[in-house]
Symmetry: C2
Subunit: 269 residues, 2 copies
């Protein structure tokens, strides 16, 4: 049994309350803003035949693929992320992929689950964005109520035998002093992408037009602002989509797993 | 009595050896590269009538004016910076200013000293540059064997009744990934200027032409590099020069006080 402090207990209680609503079907929308202070996680489920190699890929690419937890084949609980989590029911909406094609978007996995599946829970920028907002920074896509803009770059990931592809980055514009502060803050969160990988000229990492993101939505960038780029958790999905495994499951974008962990607990310092 | 660890003892011994050579006149040149690992400090000496206000100015502007030590009036020892330091003899070359005009560049202060003088020892970027080099970064002015380029900006300092003026910054160009790393590293050294104050467009802080620094020498900036700007210890000298006190003493540029403190000991983390 985990023993939580009182403060952490309140967070975990709220996380459990949200998961119950999601599990029972009472809630099936995006999770941004739910259970403030709790770590939310991206999901990637692969058959055992791909799992070891995907684990290696994550090990080689910790900035886009910061692993919070990996299950044994068939395991549905995630005790290191929270009490009584069931990975088959506790995410509001899933995406089922066959040979790289999206075939369904169910709200639970009972119809699709089998004992061969391995689940990877990957850190999400929600955690560091909470820290940026707490410091008073203007996180533009939140201010503009949009999805964060994401771009495929010309920067290759460190590949494995079958898995390779370009790094995907998310972008947030800041004035220089705030960009420096954002680098300091996100450096404290290596398990959720950590410090940026680039700033300034988008062309240097192969991005042609910031107004045309490959995923998410464009945001306004003012004349005195610098685009700052973080490694993005969409990278592994993009890599997997490229190799088209016979079967895989992800969360639907923005529909994350709410864990009992505290965002501030991820800070290294 | 201070008790040093063995490792620190070796540093302090080397610092003391250098100071002895300087005190006896055997060495009278710039101190860059001497006693590697030891903190070097800028010097500002003012009459008591200016000292309290300069102390307040430093308190309000810790990034350009990080104070390592302040003496009582007339005090010549600096026990918190090293054993047996004499501020009148242990810097290779001084500058004597009367009414804002440079009147002499002696190698000791015996002719100029009086009991009314207060000494301010201010952190120097040598300390964080050592950390940047240790991490493998290309610090351009060191590679090019030049003085660091420094610029007066349009950014005002936080003034006192009589002391005010623009922030002076030093500039080091880096590729984006190295700029991010440099921000992380220098953030650990708040007592030697800390994190940068700006990066990118020089015009946003009132710098018209990077090839024409106000102090030091220009360095090459490559197409894929971003200029990164740190608050500079020349700021207080620039402010003092502007108000032209009846008498003041500084070190000659590059001729610093070598202390017993270790650079790594300044790191906050």
């Amino acid at each position: 049994m985990f023993q939580y402090s009182d403060a952490h207990g309140a967070l975990a209680t709220e996380a459990a309350r949200c998961r119950t609503k999601i599990r029972t079907g009472e809630y099936a929308s995006q999770t941004a803003g739910l259970a403030p202070g709790c770590v939310q996680a991206n999901l990637m489920i692969l058959p055992r035949s791909w799992a070891d190699e995907f684990l290696l890929f994550c090990q080689r690419n910790p900035k886009p693929c910061p692993l919070l937890a990996v299950t044994e084949p068939g395991q549905t609980a995630l005790p290191s992320l929270g009490q009584d989590i069931d990975v088959r029911t506790d995410i509001p909406r899933y995406r089922i992929w066959r040979d790289g094609e999206l075939v369904a978007e169910p709200t639970d996995l009972h119809e699709y689950w089998h004992e061969d599946l391995v689940s990877f829970l990957i850190g999400c920028s929600f955690s560091f964005e909470e820290a940026l907002l707490a410091d008073g920074l203007d996180v533009r896509h939140i201010t503009q109520q949009r999805n964060v803009p994401m771009y495929r770059t010309s920067v290759p990931t460190h590949g494995t035998q079958r898995l390779s592809g370009p790094l995907v980055v998310s972008m947030r514009p800041f004035r220089a002093a705030d960009a420096i502060r954002a680098i300091q803050i996100t450096s404290r969160f290596p398990s959720v992408h950590g410090a940026p990988v680039h700033l300034g000229d988008p062309g240097l990492i192969g991005i042609r037009d910031l107004s045309k993101p490959d995923y998410g939505e464009a945001v306004d960038i003012r004349d005195d602002e610098i685009p700052v780029f973080w490694a993005c958790g969409v990278t592994p999905q993009s890599v997997i989509a490229h190799v088209r495994p016979e079967f895989s499951i992800t969360h639907a974008p923005g529909h994350m797993l709410i864990t009992d962990l505290s965002n501030s607990g991820l800070a290294t310092l």
